[in-house]
């Protein structure tokens, strides 16, 4: 304890002084090269993005005639897609499933991670390793067995699972759980134990400790794991393409079906494609930029997209 404190103080004290002093020393590259690289990278990202936005604000005929810059701007495509793509129903489905998965997985992850971090038991390390391993199991491997399991369970119990949002919810929840739990594990490991110990001495039960201490302190990690669970549900095409009917299509499937069906048509509806794609991306982009400062740390903690 006593030997650790001075070195810790020195370590935190010194770099701060240095950082303020010499910006120049930290330079990794001459400015002209830096400017060239930055410009190239930005162009690589922004040229396609600019075209997507411009095309969505163009008319279908304008895009088909090869305009990069629209001859006349209109939001027409943004009004058409609600009837042509059936996007409103699909967006609602996606929001329900992805939102429910986000909430459920974040809430389930806290107790699981709490036990894994604070208590020793046989199989603990195996479970921790399994949490990481599960994240890399290809969805294509699980799709068929899950499909078979759900359909035979459904016919045994006399309820429909395939084709409903419930089926999707359970599937996504399970695939979100390993990641959410891992995010919580890395977070809880950094929480000091003193508060819990104090509460335990005051006679708090495990459930009380979880509800009154762990949950309130875990805000940032709950946000991160919730958002990643949401993205998992929102971005999935694989399960949704097999386990939904037209009225339970998620946004991803609706967009994909629209894209595949429009190509047979005489007039390409590229402008509507771009508008619909941007609308599907909007909730995700908004989530990222609202919670940006939590997410970048979480990315490197959990790591698999």
């Amino acid at each position: 304890m006593t030997t650790a404190t001075p070195t810790a103080a020195a370590a935190t004290g010194r770099p701060r002084k240095g950082r303020a002093g010499s910006e120049e020393a930290h330079r990794l590259m001459p400015t002209p090269l830096l400017a060239v690289l930055t410009t190239l990278l930005c162009l690589m990202v922004l040229i396609p993005v600019a075209y997507i936005v411009l095309a969505s604000l163009n008319s279908d005929a304008g895009v088909a005639s090869g305009e990069f810059w629209p001859s006349s701007f209109s939001a027409q495509s943004y009004t058409l897609i609600w009837s042509t793509v059936g996007l409103s129903k699909a967006l609602v489905n996606s929001l329900i499933v992805a939102g429910a998965v986000a909430i459920a997985s974040a809430l389930l992850a806290v107790p699981t991670a709490y036990v894994l971090v604070r208590y020793a038991f046989r199989g603990r390390v195996t479970i921790l390793r399994g949490l990481l391993g599960f994240q890399s199991i290809p969805g294509t491997l699980m799709l068929l067995p899950v499909f078979v399991l759900f359909s035979s369970l459904g016919s045994t119990l006399g309820i429909a699972i395939i084709g409903t949002l419930w089926g999707l919810f359970i599937a996504y929840l399970t695939f979100a759980m390993p990641f959410s739990t891992w995010v919580m594990v890395t977070y809880l490991r950094g929480l000091p134990r003193e508060l819990e110990e104090a509460a335990r001495i005051d006679g708090a039960s495990n459930v009380q400790i979880l509800a009154r201490i762990i949950f309130p302190l875990s805000g940032p990690a709950i946000v991160v794991s919730g958002i990643f669970a949401f993205l998992l549900g929102w971005n999935d095409v694989l399960f949704a393409s097999v386990m939904t009917r037209p009225d339970t299509h998620t946004a991803a499937v609706a967009l994909q079906v629209f894209g595949a069906s429009m190509e047979g048509g005489a007039i390409p509806v590229y402008s509507q494609m771009m508008a619909a794609a941007l609308v599907c991306a909007a909730p995700v982009v908004i989530l990222y930029f609202v919670f940006q400062r939590y997410l970048v740390g979480g990315l490197t903690a959990g790591s698999v997209k």
Partner: protein, 326 residues
Amino acid sequence: MSSATAPEAGQGVAAPAAAPGPAGPRPASKKVKPLSKRQRPLWMLIPGGVLMTFIIVIPFLIGVWISLTDLDQYTLRRWLSAPFVGLANYVESLSAGLPAAIWISLSFAIISTIVTVPIGVAAAIVTQNKYKGRALIRAIFLIPYVLPSFVVATVWRTMLQPDGIVNILLNKAGIGDQLWLSGSTAYWTLILVEIWAAWPFIYLLALSGLQSVDSEVHEASALDGASWWPKLRYIVLPYLKGPLALAFLLATLNHINNFTLPFVLFGAPAPESVNVMPMIVYVTSFQSLRFGLSAAMAIVSLIIIAIPLFIYLRAVRLDVHEEGGK
């Protein structure tokens, strides 16, 4: 510090040994360090555990069983009593295009990773130093990563249509157009779009690696008068070895497992040249309806993925033991 917090902290850390008060019955010898073995609320593992058993472990076992049977659309309802064929599906998968799919997947994944690593590192280096507008540049760099994969695939599919904007621009430049989404060109299209979408992942991991370079290192090399390239090459980049090894592994796994991009970009069935492992498994199940064969292919692809995965798990195990490791 203050008198208000002292008793609390004292009780939490050191008091059990000294205080035989109301907390007496609790065994007092336990220090804070080792993980507790008392009052373990292991039941809290049940909800998550049941879910993961039900949707991951059991289906995995079902998948192994299906791969040993000749399950098709006629026997699907009675999958438990489907005809058992042993390893016949595995043998058949060798002649049903699986070796080609493995080759396509691996080469696609490795090329994509090799190209994205320098781009990501360069992006991390140019945003490492503070300057006006850096936050905006960082936000721009994240755009491809933030956009959902199915959106990226949809917009590129639209732009790469035979009469799409890419061909129009190429024609104007006098290069001549291409059929991007079919034939053997599709393979390079897949790689290009994957690179466009995936490099920010490397960027983020490289950025966190750069931030671990001590300030002293920068100052020492400035004092030595090191010019930028030797400094970057011999002093800063070695710091990135660990993060980049991890990034390389994870990015390659992500590329191999990517189903959404080829599926939305090319549709199913995909052109021969982009029939990656996830695509061939999907098409064999849900279009050819050869469930047994498809399950066998899926198991083989899992075995291939397991190799980098195993290396990854070995590498991360160190972090499990280290307290507070990110």
